[in-house]
Amino acid sequence: MKTYKKTHPISRCASDLFLPLACVFGCYVVLHGSTSPGGGFQGGVLVASAILLVYLGYGGWGVKHSFNEHMLHSSETVAEIMYVVIALVGVFTGLNFCVNFVFAGQQVDTSILMNDAVGYHVMAGITCLLIMMLSVLEDDKDESSQEKGDDAA
């Protein structure tokens, strides 16, 4: 049974190998955004770029079967709401909007949470964009129709 276009084993192995690395590195950049260079946007883009590895390894079929576009879209809005709510916490504790307050006795401040929200948002948003762009390519469909033509011949 042929379910997807067979890509070269080297590219599949390479994508298997680098996919977790890309995700972990992206998450690292997001989580350390408040103390080191990088931050939510850059880390989010790194994680989102993992979809390109999936595409290289498994083609359009792999992308279609491993991502739920609707879910990603909802995640994007959830992340936006998260950002605004975290920023609004400042107003309702008697300080200003976006204020960077510290939870009592803990080394966590709002800039970390805001970075996470931005990272989440960018990850979901860029993934959605990339899925849209990749669906324009539609290489699987062309291939299969061509194969059918070959079989008939």
Partner: protein, 646 residues
């Protein structure tokens, strides 16, 4: 901890902005399932922002407080503003009021107007983001934040213009808006970058303190870039063809936003630029420059409106023409001019919004916007017709509507300026303003004749009046047309005087942000409040009484005349049933349906001006390359003029 309301009121501006943005996100999350939930979320977010901005009227407009809000409590250190701030003075609040009222009316109208379209979640998300960005722009105290908000505003407006992408030309109009709008945004960005390179700060108040005493050619170039950028957002000449293309295809509620709110952002930007940042409005060159651009926009657009056959395209050209009025008087540099400009800006949002909504109602009911095709709708849609007449009377400056009150002030401001300076240029400006008003009236007679009066096209025999939900927002705007026209002195006292004084009071703006004495340390003289002096008296109530009594007299005469219709009996025919065969001009044939086309009503005028009109026709080629070229040329000309004369 006791709840301190007077301190908490400082949070209102940011909460009003965030309520709109949060509404956009929440409606996109929960609105896919049920339309009711989505509409509730949208309505609540608009209502909250409206209430929060209205609550600021008392402290800011009436008591003269300037709210300065540092995001994240990043206050200035040693006279340097590092943080991002919102600064709400009376001028910002005046524009914010225009924005929230227009957003509320447009949103309520969309619930009914857009109900037949699909993917409405996207529409409301974009709509609320557009509203939030515009509100953020006028309340911002930071130059770069203004740019960010301009970008959000432009891109959401482009997307909404193309929302009904099945219309012919929707994508084309949006594409033109995207390309040339981006040219304007880039111009703003270059201006900001140049200012930042010289001033090393982005806070409006701090720049305003440092700029006037700073002598460098770079800031002159920055002035040209910023002016053209903000001007492009107000669709001033030569950016006006964009507005026509975008308005003709956008949904009516979005046309209201683009004409009523987006152009006001450009006006706000120009006021802040000339009066607050550079404080160079007393220089003769700047007065000529700003007023000149205003007069050209005013006159070119009103003549362009004559040639239009599409209802909304015509309204779009009038919209730019009215913004031209606003820019003209703002360029005079006098307190009365400023006051008149702000009043007209407010009135323009109201009456142009009303006219666009009636155009939307006509489109909703008949499916057409073609002036040559429509006709006789007053019998089918009496309510819409009455609303249209109120809007048309307002924009043409007929008493007792609001358009008259503000145009009266505009004439007086230009007249006074001409009298004070003895300069022939301002005499021409005054005359041009009067002529433009006459042409506006002529143009709206044409629209009224070809849409609501005249013969009914048989195609639209089954037209029904639009629903109550669409008429209520229009009646709100109609009431807002009448009230300021009846009580201009109250509007002057509560809204215009505080906003005018705030616009001219740059030292006060600086001190509120950077601490008192900051402006004085940069040798900016303290502000002396200027008197707003009206030389002519005007009593709208007396005029209203006169109007009512004349109308009553006409009605009585008409009623006394009896019910029978006046008919011309043919002298040839002896029969009572007037056979058309004996009529002197019709040789026995029954008359055919003939709509006196909207384009033909002023045939003589257009014939006399045919060279001008054919030149303008060729000039508005509709090619995006040409429009980009005009925009670039505008930047080039502004640069040359500013470097030579400023």
């Amino acid at each position: 901890m006791t709840f301190d309301f007077s301190n908490f009121i400082n949070n209102f501006p940011i909460l009003a902005i965030m309520s709109l943005f949060l509404g956009a996100f929440v409606s996109s999350l929960v609105g896919r399932r049920s339309a009711k939930v989505r509409n509730t979320v949208v309505f609540l977010s608009m209502l909250i922002s409206l209430v929060l901005i209205l609550a600021l009227i008392k402290p800011v407009l009436l008591e003269g407080k300037i709210i300065n809000y540092w995001l994240g409590n990043w206050e200035p250190v040693n006279g340097w503003a590092f943080g991002n701030s919102l600064e709400v003075d009376a001028l910002s609040l005046f524009f914010a009021l225009i924005v929230v009222v227009a957003v509320f009316v447009s949103g309520v109208y969309s619930f009914f107007y857009m109900s037949h379209d699909d993917s409405l979640v996207n529409y409301y998300t974009l709509f609320l983001m557009l509203s939030g960005s515009v509100l953020g722009l006028v309340l911002s105290g930071d130059l770069f934040n203004m740019f960010v908000m301009i970008e959000i505003m432009t891109f959401t407006a482009v997307a909404l213009t193309a929302f009904r992408n099945h219309y012919e030309g929707a994508l084309e109009g949006a594409f033109k808006y995207l390309v040339v709008g981006s040219l304007g945004s880039t111009s703003v960005l270059i201006g900001i970058a140049l200012i930042y390179s010289q001033m090393h700060t982005l806070n409006l108040a701090q720049i305003a303190a440092m700029l006037p005493g700073y002598d460098s050619p770079v800031i002159l170039i920055a002035f040209a870039f910023l002016f053209v950028g903000f001007g492009s957002k107000a669709f001033l000449f030569p950016f006006h063809p964009l507005a026509a293309d975008a308005h003709a295809v956008a949904p009516a509620s979005i046309s209201l936003m683009i004409s009523g709110v987006l152009t006001k952002c450009g006006v706000y930007g120009i006021i802040r630029l000339c009066y607050c940042l550079y404080q160079n409005m007393d220089q003769t060159f700047v007065q000529y420059f700003v007023t000149g651009i205003g007069v050209i926009s005013m006159f070119v657009c009103v003549t362009m409106a004559f040639n239009q056959h599409n209802f909304k395209r015509l309204l779009a050209f009038h919209s730019i023409s009215q913004v031209g009025y606003v820019i003209t008087v703002i360029g005079l540099g006098s307190a009365l001019g400023m006051s008149a400009g702000l009043f007209h800006a407010m009135n323009h949002t109201i009456f142009k919004g009303l006219l666009f909504l009636t155009a939307g109602a006509v489109q909703h009911a008949t499916g057409s916007l073609d002036l040559d095709e429509l006709g006789g709708l007053s019998k089918k849609m009496p309510g819409t017709c009455a609303l249209f007449l109120i809007g048309a009377a307002s924009i043409s400056g007929l008493p007792p509507f609001n358009g008259f009150a503000s145009k009266w002030m505009i004439y007086q401001a230009t007249f006074q300026k001409a009298g004070e300076t003895g300069n022939f240029f301002f005499v021409v400006v005054c005359v041009a303003a009067l002529i433009t008003s006459v042409l506006t009236l002529a143009s709206f007679i044409k629209v009224a004749q070809s849409v609501f009066f005249g013969q009914l096209n048989l195609k639209f025999a089954n037209t029904k009046e639009v629903s109550l939900g669409m008429r209520i927002p229009m009646w709100i705007l109609a009431a807002l047309c009448i009230l300021p026209g009846l009580f201009p002195d109250k509007v002057q006292q509560w809204l215009l005087t505080p906003a005018t004084q705030a616009a001219m009071n740059a030292p006060g703006y600086i001190d509120a942000a950077m601490g008192s004495g900051y402006a004085a340390s940069f040798a900016i003289p303290a502000y002396q409040p200027q008197q707003i002096f009206l030389s002519g008296a005007w009593q709208p109530v007396m005029w209203l009484l006169l109007l009512i009594s004349v109308t009553l007299a006409v009605c009585i005469v008409a009623l006394l005349g009896g019910d029978e219709k006046a008919t011309v009996t043919s002298e040839i025919s002896a029969d009572t049933d007037c056979d058309p065969k004996y009529d002197s001009f019709f040789s026995g044939e029954a008359s055919v349906y003939s709509q006196v086309g909207g384009s033909d009503l002023f045939w003589g005028f257009k014939h006399n001006w045919r060279r001008y009109f054919s030149f303008m026709h060729d000039w508005h080629s509709g090619v995006v390359n040409d429009y980009t070229l005009y925009g670039t040329a505008a930047i080039a000309v502004a640069l040359v003029l500013c470097v030579i004369f400023l």
